[in-house]
Symmetry: C2
DNA sequence: GAGTGGTCTAGACCACTGT
DNA sequence: CAGTGGTCTAGACCACTCT
């Protein structure tokens, strides 16, 4: 293990404060001159770390005012998968959701393949249906690692859907998305009000905080109706 | 229009040389001290640009040796969609492809919605089938803007599939991916040897060089068999 | 061994913006 | 107007690696 450079250490420290929730969105982080004093280095070195955080949109910088933690980092995901509520409301339709099933259990060996990085700890298993107006929009099957997010056990998920709740409560440092097309099974088809066997878009998302699994979720969108968009240009400025 | 910073200009210049193909993969770009002389600035300023290009994986830096243009930039796409040949061979199956249809025509008004940024110029329309061993792997329906890539007209696409050919020949600066699940239509289902109406994963990709459309392609993967993976962590180091 | 990139310094000037 | 970030300089030392 070679020593990481100083600006990398500063970056990691600040990222840690943000992702742990210790510095919530809107929080003003120390000024460059304060950090350069704290780390006993030149302002350039601090600036290198902060510039990178700003490019990653974890912080926002304003002259004379300082640097501030931005809103939840999820929107900067590779695939810009917005919150489902936002997604539905963007269509101009009223949004609601309901919990269809809820179960607490211990993680088995089957879970560790789905939720790599989970121990043998307690899990919360949820099925949740999202509506856009009068039609089911999307089905959410989720596992939450109660070791990462113990408060989830007491949360009724009435006001806030599990996804949004976790976003605000259990910050993550890494995510993986898998996207597939598959025939929708019998039970999910019933829940979605479609014909079993018709095509669905399946999005699996896994998130981790460090090496510890936070959540695993499968979102099932009825086919045709949904598409994912990703735009890209190299070395974005 | 405020003046862009010097390191941004240096970055843009070098990126331009790379994306235009003028500096092909493997090409050694000027040393830091040469660039600092050319732009009449300090090495730090040059270093800032080059460090950023290295993070974007457009160049690779080796001490004592210099900095080199990396292999085609497509692999750094948001969704890491590999070349289909690579994808099939990664499965340990023999790869081949065939052109099913080929047509040259003028762009109509219908095309401009599919290929935003195309003029009224000539288009090449291709349908191509990719095989993994004895089974069809993927269907490729492609439009190529012959204004962007005039040499495509004379290319038989026997040795090299259109996708790989374009990658090497017509560099792009922006890309958009759309991913959907949909029932596979009758003709494509025949081509893929599956039952019409079964689920398929559709990947639409559009690429541009500057403001000019390069190509529009729809890849149809028979359902179940395919998945896309995207990994992400904030402020990647 | 020599030349490259990686990192860092201790300044500097400027633009912007909040007060 | 004062204080912040944005940018840049002209050095420096070190680690690595190619020859």
């Amino acid at each position: 293990m070679t020593a990481p450079s100083l600006h990398a250490r500063i970056l990691a420290d600040i990222e840690g404060h943000i992702l742990s929730g210790e510095w919530p969105p809107g929080h003003r982080i120390p000024f460059e001159h304060e950090l350069s004093a704290k780390y006993a280095c030149s302002r350039m070195t601090v600036n290198k770390a902060l510039t990178q955080l700003a490019k990653a949109k974890l912080i926002e910088r304003r002259r004379k005012a300082g640097s501030f933690v931005t809103r939840p980092p999820s929107r900067s995901a590779v695939l810009d998968i917005p919150d489902i509520k936002t997604e539905v409301e963007a269509l101009g339709l009223p949004y609601r959701f309901e919990i269809l099933s809820r179960r607490k259990r211990r993680a088995g060996r089957d879970d560790s393949t789905r939720l790599e990085g989970v121990g043998a700890g307690p899990l919360l298993e949820l099925v949740c249906r999202h509506w856009a107006g009068a039609r089911p929009f999307c089905l959410e099957e989720r596992l939450i690692n109660l070791v990462s997010a113990p408060e989830a056990e007491a949360e009724p998920f009435i006001e806030v859907a599990p996804g949004a709740w976790l976003l605000a409560r259990a910050p993550w440092t890494a995510a993986e998305h898998r996207i597939r097309a598959r025939a929708v099974g019998k039970r999910p088809a019933e829940w979605l009000g479609i014909v079993a066997g018709s095509p669905g878009l399946f999005i699996e998302r896994r998130t981790w905080a460090g090496d510890v699994a936070v959540t695993f979720v499968v979102l099932t969108y009825p086919g045709e109706g949904h598409e994912l968009v990703a735009r890209f240009s190299p070395s974005q400025r």
